[in-house]
Symmetry: C2
Subunit: 224 residues, 2 copies
Amino acid sequence: MTDQELAFMERFKIGEMTVEPGTPLLSEGANSPQIFTALSGFGLRFKMLPDGRRQVLSMIFPGDLIGLQAGVMREMTHNIEATTAMKLCVFNRNELWSLYKTHPSRAYDLTWIASSEERFLGEALTAIGQKSAMESLAWALSRVFRRLEALDMLEGNSVPLPYRQQDLADALGLSLVHTNKTLAKLRERQIASWADGRLSVSDLEQLEEIGLVEGGPPPARPLM
Amino acid sequence: MTDQELAFMERFKIGEMTVEPGTPLLSEGANSPQIFTALSGFGLRFKMLPDGRRQVLSMIFPGDLIGLQAGVMREMTHNIEATTAMKLCVFNRNELWSLYKTHPSRAYDLTWIASSEERFLGEALTAIGQKSAMESLAWALSRVFRRLEALDMLEGNSVPLPYRQQDLADALGLSLVHTNKTLAKLRERQIASWADGRLSVSDLEQLEEIGLVEGGPPPARPLM
DNA sequence: CGTGCCATTGAGCCGGTTCAAAGCCGGTGG
DNA sequence: CCACCGGCTTTGAACCGGCTCAATGGCACG
């Protein structure tokens, strides 16, 4: 970054913030003045239905930008919650527009990020809409594994994955019971095993094959 | 627009183009040098699985931007096809970056569009993942109706909707048969009826209630 | 030592799927 | 002018993947 960019980021960045597990960061309908970047910890992005059903849209990992929607549109259309303790970098939404005027390459990155999230949701939609429970699950696990691997969180053959089975079930539109049973099958077949907040994958290739994962690692994400 | 903007758009816009029904506009994996805006006609955005299953991601209506993903990322991750004859405005992808440098407000619009599409996919994911067939269908029909209404295509109580039931089924992750039977129920209940390429809604309020649609009309979309 | 959250497992059921067949066009060629 | 064909919609019937209900067990915490 240039000096000028640094100076701008100084103004754009408000500060840092640490939150407890379970803290709601942004809520549906809110018009928050803040945008965050996750520095550490894990979170969930989800939508609720009036009767309590929940759709998890994505898991939030370190490096992810949070609240771009609220930044660029009027208001938030989904909720964001910290699953573990999280450290966040806080940005001032009001400076977003001046970023577009003065730092086009950063602006371009933002479009890239939004576009990349759209791409992910398209994949998720395809998984939920078309794939069987086993296929979706394998898709989700391999996707998560690849991303955490790219974040350099791989230790041995396992990555941290501190969520409940209910969270994954809500992400895949499956029931908790069926998610549990399908996970058990993957474990029995010695392909992948998720316990105690860690996901171990012993046969990634087969996992991706089951999940009908289309080639290639996920694209690298510019940091904001 | 200012003169300067007009001059730029002149360079950015390559020309116009008309395509036949069924023409593929962009394909998965392609790295197309073009970005389009639909001027008239209808299209589909979808992903295919290796075994032929298809997930429709969204319907493309006049005014929609096509191919932003290919523009901003390396390559396309879904297919786009013209359902009816379409008239398109063609832009030069290579000028995209200079747009960011010289026209920040247009750049902002692009992020807005990408973000808005992400928002839509999140809603779709929630419909497919959590809602019953009847709920999803009502959601989809009311969504489509609202959008076409906003495009000023409402005549009487009906809007054009020139797709096959199979297309809608693939969008909602339902079988063709069940989609048909669920549509029949909405027709019997005198709520909405879709035939001969037109969707008539006689009780929009009830349709949105069944579909668990959260308030408000969809946000207006900046034209590119 | 109780209490609550989460994972696990069994049993029965149901919303939605698959299979199959028939009806309804509009287009085409004889 | 009519017979035929292909794409789409409609309807009936049987089946099944995944859901719901229910109970148990492990573990952390007060």
